[in-house]
Symmetry: C2
Subunit: 336 residues, 2 copies
């Protein structure tokens, strides 16, 4: 059996066996956005880590050092945000090929430090080493969350309202510009490029949601709406219904899709790396929370669908037509 056959999630399932040998203090092990374990009677420690490899996750020629560092930290912070936590300490490891300039490395650390300062995060250590060809960055984040406020993937309940803390699909459009070497010649395209290169971790939004009664499950949109919501549905043993006309498409993405002839709904469904939070909220609390969210963040908390008791995953169009959704998010290993 090969890695391509079992895929990333098959591989993770395989390696997860026998990993938990002292389960007494563990709340979440492999399988959520971050691991969670008890550090004191009322608080949990959160830990998450992401490994970024050149030519897989980024092209050095296509991203500034500053953006690369910023993004490497942002994707990790987003995992803490998705658990409802506060990020505290960061550890940065880097493997550097000979052709990587010191200026570029300085810019990477400037990008990391810039975002770390915004969220009051210390950089406490890491590892520095060489690499033969590819630049490699691994960041680890330690965070905390009050025991009773942790948000997990497996806590969605039927009739919960599914919400997103931001627009979806912008980052994928930015990636399209990079991969097809299309110049970002308008303010709109520049914004899409920035959505891809400098994603904003929704840590404050995650803390806000974690404190509200009725917010059940959460995940960040790293792999794409269909895939990430698929994780929530699967882990919660439920289904989901999404309304095509409620999926939040930014004006920039609308222009982009019109110009390059893409379907914006499909784009938002399959696009990854937006790093908004998807959460599910008990129906009776959803409206008030959305109201308070808008008041606090001056942005909309988009209600895009509902969790269902059946395990179907369906897209509903304004004319009433329905279409099954197949999670199409990112699997690093499966043959495409």
């Amino acid at each position: 059996m090969s890695l391509k056959e079992i895929g990333e999630f098959g591989f993770i399932k395989k390696i997860s066996r026998g990993c938990l040998i002292r389960p007494d203090t563990i709340v979440k092990a492999i399988g959520d956005d971050a691991a969670a374990f008890r550090s004191d009677p009322e608080q949990l420690t959160l830990m998450t880590t992401d490994l970024l490899v050149e030519r897989i996750h980024f092209l050095r020629a296509a991203i500034s050092g500053f953006d690369l560092g910023y993004k490497a930290l942002a994707v990790n912070l987003s995992d803490i945000a998705a658990m409802g936590g506060t990020a505290r300490e960061a550890f940065v490891s880097i493997a550097i090929p000979d052709d990587c300039q010191l200026d570029y490395l300085d810019d990477i650390y400037d990008g990391i430090k810039d975002l770390a300062a915004e969220f009051d995060i210390n950089i406490l250590g890491g590892d520095t080493t060489r690499s033969k060809i590819d630049l490699i960055i691994n960041i680890v984040i330690q965070g905390i969350v009050p025991d009773k406020e942790i948000l997990c993937r497996d806590a969605a309940r039927p009739s919960d309202v599914i919400c997103s803390t931001g627009f979806l699909g912008d980052s994928k459009a930015g990636l399209h510009l990079i991969l097809n070497q299309i110049a970002a010649d308008t303010q709109g395209l520049k914004s899409l490029l920035k959505a891809h290169n400098r994603p904003q971790p929704h840590l404050r939004e995650g803390r806000f949601l974690a404190r509200q009664p009725g917010v059940h499950a959460a995940i960040d949109t790293s792999d794409g709406l269909s895939s990430d919501l698929g994780h929530i549905a699967q882990e919660s043993q439920a289904g989901a219904r999404l309304y095509a006309d409620k999926i939040p498409i930014s004006p920039n993405l609308k222009d982009f899709c019109a110009r390059f002839d893409f379907d914006p709904v499909k784009y938002a469904l399959s696009g990854g790396e937006d790093y908004t939070l998807l959460c599910t909220i008990a129906f009776e609390h959803a409206e008030e929370i959305a109201h308070d969210f808008e008041k606090k963040f001056k942005r909309t908390l988009f209600a895009i669908g509902e969790i269902t008791a059946d395990k179907q995953f369906t897209l509903i169009y304004p004319d009433g037509k329905t279409k099954p959704i197949t999670p199409t998010g990112w699997d690093h290993f499966k043959a495409k």
Copy 2:
């Protein structure tokens, strides 16, 4: 200025600026074997991480998957041992090139799990992704240590006895066999190879030492005796005197050096990756601690020299001749 000019330690110094923005709970940031921060009134959290890159740290053809996984975890546990701590949770990230077989990956995780089980460590998460060419493994360890027992690099005092918890140089000899494709055709050579491929983290020894009154500083021998002791001396603003005839050379290394015409003392001084602990002990406690160590571990705690008030770093031969020691351990970036 290039990376080769400033070297690994120059680079670390450069990137360390501006990393600590919330210092209130931090005991050790960048610059010791692990970071340490307060998690409750009497206990510190320890965090360490190591990034292993194919063709820099290992050759896939020359090490079994099991040994690679075992060693990747061992080198991290050794950092926790050097702080006097107990390892608790592990996070394993891996970037896998297409030509890496599933069997080899299974073996890596078997090696990790084997050592994790021995020290009661959970594997709680990580990241799995692809790589273009090189296999990359990053492991993070979270551990704990009682506040009053932490062992740091900067706590050595003049007249402290310098001790090693094991033989030095064996691992370098094992590496010599691998790099020169010399068959390990005797039991002795096999042992040297094993010292390189499956190092034993001295976690129990570290905890024992941390609990003894009079044990001041500690570090693990990852870069080599001269370099690692150099770190202790430098951080403690002191010097060190080593006795050539007291440096612990295993019978296997003696045979190896005789056969391949190496000076065993030089070998032990410059060899890295032994992962014994170097510690410094107040003179009046050293003998009793060595006695108790031997009783507990059925092995010798080797006394190899003393910390000095002057900042000299000297090797003393049995005939009284002295030679200055220049730390010759591993710097990943400096041109050799």
